[in-house]
C-alpha cells in the first residue's frame, strides 16, 4: 500500500465507518476492512476500478464525487478520506464543506507542489514540473489544482475548518515506503496529509 495510505490507515480507529472518495481499486478500504474491522464504502468514477473493488468484496459506488456525497445524511461516517484526489477536483472549496457535513473527520492527502525540486525545476528549466509524484505533462495532467502544504493551512483558515492533525511525508522510490518530514515540510515533503473536522470530546 502507498506510504500516504499507510499513514492514513494508522489514524483510523478500529471498527469505524469510512467513506473513501476516489478509492481506486480499493487498496486502502481493503486493508482497513481486513485489519481494522472498518465498514467502508468507496466512490470511484472509473468502471474497471469499481468492478475491481466489487470483485474484491468492497462496497463501492460508481459516480462523480461531488454528486455522490450529496445523498448521505449528516455525520454518516467517522472518516471521509480524500487521498490524492483534492488536486484533481474543480472546486476544492465547494467539496470540503459537504465532506465535513457527512463525516466527523475528513482526511485529505495531496502531492505537495512546494517541494524544492519542483521549484528548482521551474527555475532552472523553465518548464512545468514533471516529477515522480507528478509524472504528467501540463497538457495531460489530471492534477488541475496546485497545492502546497502551506496553501492547505491557509485554505483551512479561509474556508473555516480546524486542522486536527497534519503530517508531511517524503515517499521513496517504491512509493510504498517513506519518511515523515518534520523540518521544513513545505520544501522537503512530497505529500501532505491532513485530518480536519471535529475535535475529540
Amino acid at each position: 500500500m502507498r506510504f500516504d495510505l499507510q499513514i492514513i490507515a494508522s489514524w483510523i480507529k478500529d471498527g469505524s465507518k469510512v467513506l473513501d472518495l476516489g478509492c481506486g481499486e480499493g487498496d486502502l478500504l481493503h486493508f482497513l476492512k481486513k485489519e481494522r474491522g472498518v465498514s467502508g464504502t468507496g466512490i470511484e468514477c472509473d468502471e474497471s476500478k469499481v468492478a475491481r473493488c466489487i470483485e474484491r468484496g468492497l462496497p463501492v459506488l460508481q459516480g462523480d464525487i461531488n454528486e455522490e456525497i450529496q445523498d448521505y445524511p449528516d455525520k454518516s461516517f467517522d472518516y471521509v478520506i480524500v487521498s490524492q484526489t483534492l488536486q484533481q477536483v474543480y472546486r476544492p472549496d465547494e467539496l470540503i464543506q459537504p465532506l465535513l457535513r457527512i463525516g466527523r473527520r475528513v482526511i485529505v492527502s495531496f502531492p505537495n507542489f512546494g517541494h524544492w525540486k519542483i521549484g528548482l525545476h521551474i527555475l532552472l528549466s523553465g518548464y512545468a514540473p514533471v516529477t515522480r509524484q507528478l509524472p504528467y505533462q501540463w497538457y495531460d495532467t489530471p492534477n488541475i489544482r496546485v497545492i502546497t502544504i502551506k496553501d492547505f493551512r491557509k485554505f483551512s483558515r479561509e474556508v473555516g475548518f480546524d486542522i486536527l492533525t497534519e503530517v508531511a511525508i517524503k515517499d521513496r522510490n517504491s512509493c510504498k515506503r517513506g519518511n515523515i518530514i518534520k523540518i521544513l515540510p513545505n520544501m522537503r515533503a512530497t505529500y501532505g496529509i491532513f485530518m480536519i473536522g471535529e475535535t475529540d470530546k
Binding site: 468492478a51 466489487i54 470483485e55 474484491r56 468484496g57 459506488l61 455522490e68 445523498d71 448521505y72 454518516s76
Partner: protein
C-alpha cells in the same frame, strides 16, 4: 437465412450463443407446486381472489443443512423457470441464463442453491390466463385477474415456504426480474440478505409504458384475439409477433443496431421495391416475432406488461417517496446498469441507489459500458460475472450465510 448468431436477444431468446464452456449444472427438472386452493385463495393487490395457483419452478445446486445458501433468480417478461441446465441428456438448448448459473460460474451452483420459478400470469407452467379456470373448466382468458409484481413475489414467497426456505442469500434478476428483486426486498426485508437488481428501475417510466401499450394494442387489434378467448381457435399470432418486434427494438440500442445491421440488405443486392423485408433489421425483427409466437401466449404478454406498467415502488411502498419506500429494505444491494440501455437507463438505477444511500443501506453500483442496450444484461459479460461472484462471496462472508456445509 438468419444471420444473427452473436447474441443480442433479450429475454431468453433462441439466439444467445450458449458459450457455456462445456460446464453445466446438467439435467434439471421442472417441478410444480400448487397452493391457494379454494377457499384459501390468494388475495391479489387488486382485491381479486385467485386460486388454486400452480407455480412451475426449477432448482440447481444443493441446499445446505442450514438452508442458508439460497439464491433466487428472477426471470424477465418472457422467461421461464429454466434458468440453467438441460431437460435431458439429448437436450441441446440450455436454460436462459446458463452463462451465469452453473458450477464455477458467476452464480456458482457448487456453492449456492438456485431457485427459479415462472412468474404469475405467465404461460410456462405457472398459473396464467391460458390456465383452465376451475369454475368454468375453460382457459381463463380475460377472466384472469390482473396481477402485479407484488402478487408475483407473494406467490414466490409461498413457494419458499413450501420449500422450507426462510432466508434468501440473494435475489437476482434483470428488467422485470429486477422489479421482483426490489419487491422482495421491500415486502420481505427480514428474509433477504442481499439483492442484485440488473438493468431495471424502481418505477416504470412513461417511455416503457408507451412501448408496452403499443405491444398490447397490436395484440388486441388482431381479430383472432377475440377479447382474449382464442384458446380453442386461431391465435392472435400477428398481433403477438408485432408486439415482440416492438419489444426487441427497445432491447437493442441505436449503437447496437448500427453495428449489427446498419442498412445492410437481407439476401439481396438491391431494393425489392415492394414491402418484403429488404433490410436485415426488418428480417431480424420478423424472425424474432415468428419465433416468439411459437412459445408465448398473447394474453400472458398483456398481463405481464400490465404488471410491469403498474410497478412503482415510490407510490406502492413509499407513499410518493422512493426514499421512504427503501426504508423498509435491509438487504445489501448491488445495482448494475448498462450504458446503452434506453429502456431502463442508468439514471433510473442511480435514482434507486440514491434512495438506498439515504437510508444508510449497504449499496454498490456499477454502470457497465456495453453497446448492446437493454439486452446486455443477458449476454456473456466477464465483467458482470465477476461482479456477481465477488458480491455474493462478500455477502456470504459478512452475513455468515451461505457456507456450504455438506
Amino acid at each position: 437465412m438468419i444471420f444473427i448468431n452473436d447474441g443480442g436477444n433479450e429475454e431468453m431468446s433462441e439466439y444467445i450463443e450458449h458459450d457455456t464452456g462445456g460446464v453445466s449444472v446438467g439435467v434439471v427438472k421442472k417441478r410444480y407446486f400448487t397452493f391457494a386452493e379454494p377457499p384459501h385463495e390468494m388475495i391479489l393487490e387488486s382485491g381479486a381472489k385467485l386460486g388454486p395457483i400452480t407455480i412451475a419452478y426449477e432448482t440447481c445446486g444443493t441446499l445446505n443443512e442450514s438452508r442458508s445458501n439460497v439464491v433466487i433468480v428472477e426471470h424477465a417478461l418472457t422467461g421461464d423457470s429454466h434458468a440453467a441446465g438441460y431437460y435431458s441428456e439429448n437436450d441441446t438448448k440450455p436454460g436462459w441464463w446458463d452463462i451465469m448459473v452453473g458450477p464455477g460460474k458467476g452464480i456458482d451452483t457448487d456453492k449456492y442453491f438456485v431457485v427459479c420459478s415462472n412468474i404469475l400470469g405467465s404461460c410456462m407452467g405457472t398459473t396464467g390466463p391460458g390456465f383452465n379456470n376451475p369454475r368454468t373448466g375453460k382457459p381463463y382468458g380475460l377472466d384472469f385477474p390482473v396481477v402485479t409484481i407484488g402478487d408475483m413475489v407473494k406467490a414466490q414467497k409461498a413457494l419458499c415456504d413450501h420449500l422450507g426456505i426462510e432466508k434468501i442469500l440473494s435475489v437476482i434478476g434483470g428488467s422485470i426480474g429486477g422489479f421482483q428483486v426490489l419487491e422482495w426486498c421491500l415486502r420481505y426485508p427480514d428474509m433477504v440478505c442481499s439483492a442484485i437488481p440488473l438493468a431495471t428501475t424502481a418505477r416504470h417510466s412513461a417511455l416503457a409504458i408507451a412501448f408496452n401499450e403499443v405491444g398490447r394494442q397490436a395484440i388486441m387489434a388482431d381479430p383472432n384475439w377475440a377479447n382474449g378467448s382464442y384458446y380453442s381457435g386461431p391465435k392472435p399470432d400477428l398481433g403477438l409477433a408485432v408486439a415482440r418486434m416492438i419489444g426487441h427494438i427497445t432491447y437493442l440500442s441505436d449503437e447496437s443496431m448500427r453495428h449489427k445491421f446498419g442498412r445492410k440488405l437481407q439476401d439481396k443486392n438491391d431494393f425489392s421495391f415492394n414491402f418484403d423485408a429488404d433490410f436485415q433489421v426488418e428480417s431480424y425483427l420478423r424472425h424474432q416475432g415468428e419465433k416468439f409466437i411459437e412459445r408465448f401466449d398473447a394474453n400472458s404478454f398483456l398481463y405481464i406488461t400490465k404488471a410491469a406498467d403498474y410497478f412503482d415502488l415510490k407510490n406502492q411502498h413509499g407513499g410518493g417517496s422512493t426514499v421512504r419506500a427503501f426504508s423498509k429494505a435491509k438487504a445489501k444491494f448491488m445495482v448494475v446498469s448498462f450504458s446503452s440501455d434506453w429502456l431502463y437507463p442508468t439514471y433510473q438505477s442511480k435514482a434507486m441507489v440514491k434512495a438506498m444511500k439515504k437510508n444508510g443501506l449497504d449499496v454498490s453500483f456499477c454502470e457497465i459500458d456495453a453497446e448492446w442496450g437493454h439486452d446486455a444484461f443477458l449476454l456473456k459479460s466477464d465483467r458482470l460475472t465477476a461482479l456477481i461472484r465477488g458480491f455474493l462471496e462478500r455477502v456470504c462472508r459478512e452475513t455468515g450465510q451461505g457456507r456450504h456445509e455438506i
